[in-house]
């Protein structure tokens, strides 16, 4: 029972991290329909930004965090302006490949600049965990969970509740029609990509201190993020959040009660099972025939 509770707590904490990974990608992949292979690189970027801010620049943790998010926003905007804008209207696979190219460049650049050695970001939270009975949870991870929840709520409100969010959704469903409604389509493209990138960077900045920071940290994160977004249903922020928790539960209990060697396999099997049962993800968009 104790072990079960600890697994449950772990899964919640991990789920928060996964949800965080997912929401940035839902914007870019789920809403913009760009298969964003730079997601992992942007996540890594956020973590390194946090590292620089809190070590080289000596910023306070809670100042470094927004700094990194803004840095991600800027990098995202730059990528959109230089790589995606000229390719507007190109095939989805073409943009995907350009994103792969950009991802390779970013990752190798990071390796070149920072070397391959993992870096640790100091955290302002006590090392000793919060212990409730037999269950322990680290303060830092608790903070990440809360921050993840806040970012998810923010992203949700922004996409579903604001004029800008509505314009974003409209633009990627029919950009000509959106232009006819008075939407500055070019700005929306840049803004959406930048926003998704800043969320990816936020994930990196928050999870960097939890884990360690190294150039390839984004690879696994990106695969999981894709899985989470699709599990939740394209373009659904609630879906991405829920998908993150489902994946975390599957992995945690798969490793705990089946076999740790098949830990990741559990997650992937759940995804396969969900998609076979509900081929459009948990939060499907309504479609019709004819």
């Amino acid at each position: 029972m104790d072990q079960f509770l600890q697994h449950l707590v772990n899964a919640m904490v991990l789920g928060g991290a996964y949800a965080l990974l997912g929401i940035g990608l839902t914007l870019i992949f789920g809403i913009m329909n760009v298969v964003n292979f730079t997601h992992g690189a942007l996540y890594t970027f956020g973590a390194y930004a946090m590292f620089i801010a809190s070590t080289a620049l000596g910023l306070n943790f809670f100042v470094a965090l927004p700094f990194s998010i803004v840095a991600g926003l800027a990098l995202g905007a730059a990528i959109e302006l230089t790589l995606l804008r000229p390719l507007r209207g190109a095939d989805i696979d073409t943009t995907m490949l350009v994103m792969i190219g950009a991802g390779i460049i970013l990752q190798s650049g990071t390796l070149w600049i920072f070397g391959g050695v993992a870096k640790a970001i100091p955290s302002p939270f006590p090392d000793a965990p919060l212990t409730l009975g037999s269950v322990s949870i680290s303060w830092l991870r608790l903070f990440v969970l809360v921050a993840a929840a806040a970012l998810i709520a923010l992203a949700y409100a922004m996409i579903n509740g604001t004029r800008l969010g509505r314009a974003m959704r409209a633009t990627f469903q029919d950009s000509d029609a959106a232009a006819l409604m008075g939407v500055n389509v070019r700005f929306i493209y840049t803004a959406t990509f930048a926003l998704g990138s800043s969320l990816a960077a936020a994930a990196g900045a928050l999870l960097g201190p939890v884990y360690v920071v190294f150039p390839q940290m984004g690879d696994l994160a990106a695969v999981k993020a894709f899985a989470i977004v699709i599990l939740g249903g394209l373009g659904s922020i609630t879906g991405a959040a829920l998908g993150g928790f489902i994946l975390a539960l599957a992995e945690e209990f798969g490793a705990g009660y089946v076999s740790s060697g098949y830990r990741d396999a559990m997650g992937f099997l759940i995804i396969i099972a969900v998609l076979l049962a509900k081929p459009t993800g948990l939060f499907a968009r309504a479609e019709r025939v004819g």
Binding site: D176, L180, V183
Partner: protein
């Protein structure tokens, strides 16, 4: 109010408009008729900035709007209800209408316009929360018309608004369109249902393969035997 001179447009190597000139006066309802592929939709797209003019000028209320972005054309007061409905499929009916009022900053009057659209098309009111892409073809058409009206334009351009609508709704829609004119706004109407368009318009242009070949009052064109032969089914 709207003056177009020698407008030329195309798609890649295809030249769709080969020098179109037309005038729409304030408060008028002007119809544009012509065969499939004549260039009617292209004319509207050029006005709203979706396709760029290769030559010629478009002036609206004395101001040159040639080559201006769609958003600015709308801001200047021209709304365009495009061919083929073009609703936002994954957004609700209400959100689609809200998009129509995207540039407006007068929430109270926007509310009124919501109510007006809902009372014009009660079916939309029933389906406020339904994803637009799952509406029936005609329901989507109603939504597209309602959405265009949400911006309170000075000039509305309708591209085949009756497409896919049931006869009773066609009737009603044409009524709404004349109503817009009667309320003081200006209308540029493209219709395949030339008969109906010519009946309600003040004057009309006939376009063939990218050129204006005839202009006159609706009654003139209705009476023209060539027009009857080609566009009204004899």
């Amino acid at each position: 109010m709207l003056e177009i001179r020698n407008l030329e447009c195309g798609y890649g190597p295809v030249s769709a408009l080969k020098g179109v000139s037309l005038d729409v006066g304030k408060g008028e309802l002007v119809a544009l008729i012509g065969a499939n592929g004549a260039g009617k939709s292209t004319t509207l797209r050029a006005i709203s900035g979706l396709v760029k003019a290769r030559a010629g000028t478009i002036r609206f209320e004395g101001q040159d709007i040639t080559g201006v972005d769609p958003a600015e054309v709308l801001a200047a007061g021209i709304a365009h209800c495009p061919e083929g409905r073009r609703v936002f499929p994954y957004m609700s009916v209400a959100d689609n209408l809200a998009m129509g009022a995207y540039l407006r900053r007068d929430p109270i009057r926007v509310r009124e316009d919501f109510d007006r659209v809902y009372s014009d098309f009660p079916r939309l009111a029933e389906r406020r929360r339904q994803a637009a892409g799952t509406l029936s073809g005609g329901e989507q058409q109603m939504l597209a018309i309602g959405r265009a009206l949400m911006s309170r334009p000075k000039l509305v351009m309708f591209d085949e608004p009756s497409l896919g609508l049931a006869p009773r709704i066609v009737e009603q829609t044409l009524g709404i369109i004349s109503g817009i004119r009667d309320a003081g706004a200006t209308v540029l109407l493209v219709e395949q249902n030339a008969f109906a368009a010519l009946e309600i318009c003040d004057h009309a242009y006939l376009i063939e393969t990218g050129r204006v070949v005839k202009r006159g009052t609706g009654a003139d064109l209705l009476a023209d035997p060539n027009v009857r032969e080609a566009y009204l089914g004899g």
